[in-house]
Every structure is written in structure tokens, then in C-alpha cells.
Amino acid sequence: MRVESLRQLTLARFREFTREPEAVFWTFVFPLLLAGGLAIAFRDKAPEQAIVATVSAPAGDGAAMFVGKALRAAAADSNAQLTVREIPADSIADVLRTGTAALVVVPQAGGGVEYRFDPARPESRAARRITDDLLQRARGRADPVPTRDATISERGSRYIDFFVPGLLAMNIMGSSIWSLAFAIVTQRNKKLLKRLAATPMSRLEYLLSFVLSRLLFLGLEIAVLLGFGVWVLDVPIRGSLALLVLVAFIGAAAFGAIGLLVSSRARTVEGVSGLTNFVMLPMWIFSGVFFSASNFPAALQPVVQALPLTALVNGLRAIMLQGSGLVGVLPQIGVLSVYLLVCLAVALRVFRWQ
């Protein structure tokens, strides 16, 4: 192993990447766009209003007319949780199909009410509960249990706080695997790998240079995404920043090794693209980036917990949101280290040089 050739190989990787302006742009700008979009979608705001549609009651039926009156009165209230729209009777199906209202209230002759909604939509179920309570109370129902609401919107327990560590982990996975797979397969395709294999270059050094060059960029990626998260989205980092960076680096090295393995045989960029997606897709779904991985059935949990992205997401989340120390994230570091060593060793054995 020669330090100089490892340095030159890493430098070559670094130069090739920085001289590809498009690649740099997407590596840094894409996650920012995603985080920005989510920040807008999940910004702090008044609780969602349910949109309820109602059709006019048959003329002269006083009991039925009451429904429209009660709903309008409720909507006019300053604390209203409802927005009410009047629609013609023949457009009920349309409204439900397009989702422009969560619930359609159809007054029945004699004062009864029919609710039409899709129970699979959470906002429709909520709208039904709110509307029903309103109507029942307006008709004089008394609630025997006195209740009081104490709402929380504490920093660190919002969805965006949950999501930013996941986004960071997903970005580390994506950029590590993609950049390596693309670069290696291109070099193989251009017979450059074969030329390098004809020199006394150490093959381990060649593979390590890819992992190392990933780490160089990672520093920048983490800084950009975390900076945005902390300053713009006000996401907390409760644990140690050094530990956070350490776990991110181990994660990047592990995904770099997975990237090497993915690209160890493929001869074309098209071939490796399919393989890369095949490897990453299950992790996008199962690793708890967008929602908690505990939603999956217990039978699946051993698999879910063994995925490297799950380990990285959980590790980063524990440090940022729960303030875990090194001991708390040791299991995650362990899982990632195993992936790093095993994938690197296998890649070195099966790597196709020509």
C-alpha cells in the first residue's frame, strides 16, 4: 500500500467530480429543494380545516333546513374547524371523486342526516366526527364529561424534525451508491480499469480511493443539509455534533462499499442503474425515512432492522432528537461497520477489471 498512490487516486476522483458541474449541482441542491418543499408543507399553522359540502334540503322541510343553518353558523364562528360549501344535489359524486370536499352532508326528510365519505381518508373520518358533534350539540346534546385541550407543538417532535435526519441518511445512501456506481462502470466501459489493472497499482487502494473521495464530499453535504435544517427549519441537534458527523461518515463509508459491490461486475451504466435501484428501493420503503419503521409487522422487523439505511436513520435520529451518546448508537455503528467490511472484502474478490 502506498500513501502517494492512494492520495493521487482520491485526488483524481475528487477532480473528476468537481469538474462535472451538473453532478455537484444535484448533489447539493436536490436535498435542499426537498427539505424546502417539506418545510412549506409542514410549516406551523392553525389546525387543518375540514372542508364539508352540503346539499340544499327539500324546500319547506324545516327540520332538514336546520342542518344547513347549523353548519353555516358553525363555519362563521372564529374558532371554526369547518369550511362549508353548498353544492347542487347532482354533483355529490363528482365532489367525492375529486376529493374537493372531505365529506358530503345530505339532509334527509324529517331531520335525519346522511354522511357520504370514504372511510379510508383520515381527513374524511375527522370531518365526519366534527360535523356530527356540531349537529348533535346544536340539537341539544349535552356532553356529560367536562374536557379541556392542552396542545403541544414542541420543537423536536414535529414531523420535519423526524424527517430531516431521515433525509440526511437517504442523501448519504443515494449519493454514495450512485456516484461510485456511475464512475466505476464508466471507467470499466472505457477500458480504463483494464489499463489500471496492468500497472502495479494496488487494487485495494483503487477501491479505497472511491470510499475516501465520498467522505471528502460528505463533509460538504452534511454541512449544507444540517445547516439548512438547523437555521431554516429550526431542527434541534440534542446530541454531540462530533458524534453525528462520525456516524454519518461510517454510514457513507458503508454505502460506499455497497456501491463498490453493486458496480463490481456491471459493464454498462444502464445495467448498473437497474441494480442500484433494486438495492435502494427496499430501503426507501422499509427504513423509516418518511414514517416510522415500527409501522411494519413484527415478522418483518428483523429484516427491517438489519438494513443499513435503517441503522443510519435510527442512529442519526437518536443523536439529533434524543441526544443519544456513543453507547446509545453503538448497535447502529456495528451494523454499518459490518456492511463496510463485508462489502469491501467481497467487492475486492469479485471485481471485474476488464
Partner: protein, 322 residues
């Protein structure tokens, strides 16, 4: 081939065989390359040259046969052996985003001992392009850079696989001058080419390869002398394959071969090609015969015999036919 028995061999190949499925690429090939020589492997595309050279370079493994490079086989310490070889492959595309200097720094870093970057840049005359990206170089400049990459380790033995294929005449001559310089420094060079003029100019010894075997071996002069003829006369009736055979070949080949001083020959697409001792002796009877038959030659040319003629007489095919 005249080699003193005491000259050490830089490369020795015995009974080399390699097949890809049903296709036999190399079929019992033998080579002995003495140290300090420029040795040419000559043959059409698909003759097995590249497979042979890649096995010698340790990039491919033979099905059977022995290869000794600088006295060693690839089973012993391959990394140490690679450090002594300079290799230029066919169709390597170096990283386009790196500069000439950066590319050479990278390759230099693989060798413990070697030449300085400045030294090799001067040698291949890329000083002006030192800071230029590889992607912006011309074909000839890229080939010179590839040669420079082969030289940074100061190799004893150089493998050059079709170094001038696809280059314009000026770039080819520039590369020839470079190779002659390397020869003068006492390095051993194994060169493959399908250009006859290249082999004649650069190589001390040549092996003509066809169908995975060496079919002729010797110095360029010996090979040409083996034709038994000094000159070649080409005759054309000016009619091509659209015309009937009798129009294209109005005289029987045997009649032409029976003429004085004609040593051999063959029919070509549009006429004949005859190997003769001396043009001034062979030509008058040839013209007299044609006149007596009322044959008009639309084209008649003569040239001194070349390696190309050697190849044609041995295989009945042109080298470029592949």
C-alpha cells in the same frame, strides 16, 4: 531470425492456446523476443495478436502454454513484474476531465521507481498541453499521452498494441520517431500492427500471425527475400466484379506464370498480380503476350516487394481485409 544464443530473452511464449467458446483465438503460438529488440506481431484483425499480447501482459490467462516475461511467469509476484512493464492497450480512454499532467502524476504514483513527469512530457512532446484536459486532445496527442503513461515506470519491456491505428500520417510518423528513440535507449518493445510500413520501419524481427499461429518469422528483409522476387507487377483490365470472369481475366494465369522471370502470382478482383525478379526483364514478354491477344491494360504498376506482398502470398488475403 538471427539471435546469438547468449542474448537473454525478454519474452518467451511456448505453445500458447486460448479459446473463447468455439472461437479459437490463439492456436499454439510460439514467440522468442530477445532483449533490446523491437519485435513486431503482424497480422489482420482477429488474427489473435491482441489476445496474445494481453496474455503476455498478465491481463488474460491462457488455456495452455507457457509465458515467461523477463524470465518470470505471471504466477510469481505479479505486482513486481508489472512494475517492470510499460503497457499501451488498444482503445483505452483516459479520464477526460483530468489534465495531461494530472493523468501522468496518477500513473507515476503506482511505480516506486520511474521517470519524472517533466521527463516523459518532454519525451512525448506534450509540453504545450501540460495543463490541457485529456478530453480536448487530438487522437495523436492522446496516443502520445498513452505512451507517456506506459513510460512513467521506466519499463524494460514495452507492449504497444496498435499504437498508430486510426491516426493521420503525420501523427503516425511522430509516434514512429518516439518508438525509435525508445529502441535506441535499449528497451525491448513488442509491437502489434496491421500496417506493413510501420513494421518494416520499426521492427528488428517480425512474426506474421494468422488464425492464432505464427506463419512466418524473420527480419523484414528476410521475409521479403522469402518471396523469391524483388518486384511486384499489378495489371488491371479496369473491369470489376460486375463483368464476367473472361472479361476481367482475359489471359489464363498459368500462361502468365510461364513467362520468363515470373516467380509467382495470383488473380485479383480486376486483373493480376505477378511477382518478378526484375521489371525490365519480365515486362516486355508480358506486354507482347497481351498485344497478341488484343488485351488492353487500363492500369499497370510496379513496386518493390513489401511485407504486404509477403502476407498476400502466404495467405491469399490483404492484411486490411481482416
Amino acid at each position: 531470425m538471427t539471435v546469438a544464443a547468449s542474448t537473454p530473452l525478454a519474452l518467451e511464449v511456448i505453445g500458447l492456446r486460448k479459446s473463447y467458446g468455439d472461437v479459437v483465438a490463439v492456436n499454439g503460438l510460439d514467440l522468442r523476443v530477445p532483449a533490446g529488440q523491437c519485435f513486431g506481431l503482424l497480422g489482420p484483425n482477429g488474427a489473435g495478436k491482441t489476445t496474445t499480447i494481453e496474455i503476455c501482459e498478465g491481463l488474460n490467462t491462457p488455456d495452455s502454454g507457457t509465458v515467461r516475461v523477463l524470465g518470470r511467469t505471471w504466477d510469481e509476484q505479479p505486482t513486481a513484474l508489472r512494475a517492470q512493464l510499460g503497457i499501451q492497450l488498444q482503445e483505452t480512454q483516459l479520464a477526460e476531465k483530468l489534465t495531461v499532467e494530472e493523468t501522468l502524476q496518477l500513473f507515476r504514483s503506482f511505480y516506486v521507481h520511474g521517470r519524472t513527469i517533466d521527463d516523459v512530457i518532454d519525451l512525448v512532446q506534450l509540453g504545450e498541453k501540460r495543463k490541457a484536459r485529456v478530453g480536448g486532445l487530438s487522437g495523436g496527442q492522446k496516443q502520445r499521452l498513452a505512451l507517456a503513461c506506459a513510460l512513467v515506470g521506466d519499463p524494460q519491456l514495452l507492449f504497444l498494441d496498435e499504437p498508430t491505428t486510426g491516426l493521420d500520417p503525420q501523427s503516425r510518423r511522430q509516434l514512429w520517431t518516439l518508438v525509435e528513440g525508445l529502441k535506441a535507449e535499449g528497451r525491448t518493445i513488442l509491437l502489434t500492427t496491421h500496417y506493413m510500413d510501420e513494421a518494416e520501419r520499426l521492427c528488428d524481427n517480425i512474426a506474421i500471425v494468422d488464425h492464432g499461429q505464427v506463419i512466418a518469422l524473420g527480419t523484414p528483409r528476410q521475409l521479403i527475400a522469402s518471396l523469391g522476387a524483388e518486384h511486384v507487377i499489378r495489371l488491371s483490365t479496369g473491369h470489376d466484379g460486375d463483368e464476367s470472369r473472361a472479361v476481367r481475366h482475359p489471359v489464363a494465369l498459368t500462361e502468365l506464370l510461364a513467362l520468363p522471370d515470373v516467380r509467382g502470382g495470383r488473380e485479383t478482383e480486376t486483373g493480376y498480380e505477378l511477382r518478378v525478379g526484375a521489371v525490365q526483364q519480365a515486362l516486355p514478354p508480358l506486354l507482347a503476350l497481351a498485344e497478341s491477344r488484343g488485351v488492353q491494360w487500363s492500369e499497370l504498376s510496379t513496386h518493390s516487394a513489401t511485407l504486404e506482398d509477403v502476407f498476400v502470398s502466404m495467405t491469399g488475403r490483404q492484411l486490411r481485409d481482416g
